[in-house]
Symmetry: C2
Subunit: 229 residues, 2 copies
C-alpha cells in the first residue's frame, strides 16, 4: 500500500491529470472536491466520475459556502466572458477569479491531511497556460507550504511535514494533456468550462474552454469534451 | 469613517477583547464567526451578543463543515477533559485541537477582506496563557500573512497588502481582561467553555474555563460568566 495523499479534484483537466499522476506514483489518493455554490453542478459530477475512473481510494466532497463573499463570475451573478476566434482576454486577473479560493481549498486539504496522516497534498495549479490567478504561482504554493508546516499538530509535535505538490506548475497545457493520456486519463469525463449549458455542455468560448482546446490542438487532437457536444 | 477590518469573533474572551480593540482603533469592524459543527451553539449566540454590544459594523456567520474531518473533542464524539483544583493538563497539544482550524478561519477572513477591500484581519490568538495550539504562535501568524500577500488579486494587482493583527499574542490572560475592561467589554456576554451544559452554562473545569478564571483571579475579580451560573 502506498502512502496516503490528498488530491484536490475539481473534475477539470488539470486536477484529473494530477490525480492520475499521484496514483502513478503509488499514492493512496483521497480526492477532495468542494461544493461551493458553483454555477454548475456538472463540475462535481465530473469529479465523481474521474475519481471512480482513476481508482481514487475515496472521494470526499466538502460543502462550503463562498457565496457569502460574492464577487466572482464563478459564484455570483456576473457574466462569464466569451471570446471569438481572433479575440484575446484583457490583461490582468479576470472576473472569474474567486477571492482566496485556493487558500480555502488548501486549508481544507491541510485539515484532511492531518486527520488521515497524509504528508502530501497534490493540486493541479499551472502557472503557464492558465487564467492569471495569483494563487496559481510557485511563490504562492511555497508560501502556503511554509505556513502549513507551522500550522498543524502533526508538523509541530510529530515532525510530519506536509508537502504541497504541484507537478503541473511549469507545464504547458499540451504537456499536461500528453502526460494525462500516457497515464490513461479519459478527458471526455473531465469538465473545465466556466459557463456550460444547463445540460452541462461546455461552451467552447470561455477562457477555460479555449485553453483546453489549444492544448489538444497542439497535439493534433480535438478536445473530447467538445467533440462530445 | 475608519478603515474596514475583518475581526474573527468566536464569542470567547479573547476574540471579544480583540473586537473592542479594533473598534477603539477606529476600524469599521466586519465580525466573522463560523458555524462549524461545534458541540454547542451557545458560542455563536455569544458572538452575536458581543458583536451587537460592541457595535460591530456587521456580523457574518459562515457555515462550514469541519465534521467531515472528525478528530477533535470540539467537533467529534471525544470527551472534553476536565481538571480538579490541583490538577494540570498533560503536556502537549490537547484533544480539543481542531486540525487546521485557524488556517481555515483565516482563509475565509482573507476572502472576506479581499471582497470588501479590508487590509487588516484581527484575531484573538494568544501564545502565553493558551491551550498549546500550534496555530496560535507568532511564527504561524507571520507565515500566514506572507502567504496571504501572495494569494490575492488585491495584493498582487492593486498592492493592497493585508496585515494579520494579533494584538493579544504576547499578553497574559489578566492583561487581556484588563484591556477589555478598559474598553468596555461585558465579559458576562462572552463564552469560552469547551463543554457547557445543555443550557449553555460554562463547566468551570475545562482548560478554557480555568484559564479565564485564573485571569480574573489575578485581577482580584471573579469571572462574570461563572458568577452568572
Amino acid at each position: 500500500m502506498g502512502s496516503d495523499a490528498v488530491v484536490l479534484l475539481s473534475g477539470g483537466l488539470d486536477s484529473s491529470t494530477v490525480l492520475a499522476y499521484a496514483n502513478s506514483e503509488g499514492r493512496r489518493c483521497h480526492a477532495l472536491s468542494f461544493s461551493y455554490g458553483q454555477r454548475h453542478s456538472v463540475e462535481l459530477e465530473a469529479a465523481k466520475k474521474v475519481a471512480t475512473a482513476l481508482g481514487a481510494y475515496r472521494h470526499l466532497v466538502a460543502d462550503i459556502d463562498l457565496r457569502i463573499f460574492g464577487h466572482s463570475a464563478l459564484t455570483a451573478d456576473i457574466a462569464v466572458p466569451h471570446f471569438g476566434a481572433g479575440e484575446e482576454p484583457p490583461e490582468g486577473i479576470p472576473v472569474t477569479y474567486v477571492p482566496a479560493r485556493n487558500t480555502i481549498f488548501l486549508s481544507y486539504a491541510l485539515a484532511l491531511a492531518e486527520t488521515i496522516g497524509a504528508q502530501e497534498i497534490f493540486l493541479g495549479v499551472n502557472a503557464l497556460d492558465y487564467s492569471g490567478y495569483p494563487d496559481c504561482r510557485p511563490a504562492y504554493i511555497e508560501a502556503f507550504e511554509q505556513m502549513a508546516n507551522l500550522a498543524t499538530k502533526a508538523a509541530v509535535e510529530a515532525g510530519q511535514r506536509v508537502s504541497i505538490r504541484a507537478p503541473l506548475i511549469s507545464m504547458t497545457k499540451a504537456e499536461i494533456i500528453s502526460l494525462g493520456l500516457r497515464l490513461g486519463v479519459d478527458y471526455s469525463l473531465t469538465h473545465s468550462c466556466y459557463d456550460p449549458s444547463p445540460k452541462g455542455t461546455p461552451c467552447g468560448t470561455c477562457d477555460s474552454c479555449r485553453l483546453r482546446a489549444r492544448g489538444f490542438a497542439a497535439l493534433g487532437l480535438e478536445d473530447p469534451a467538445l467533440v462530445r457536444r
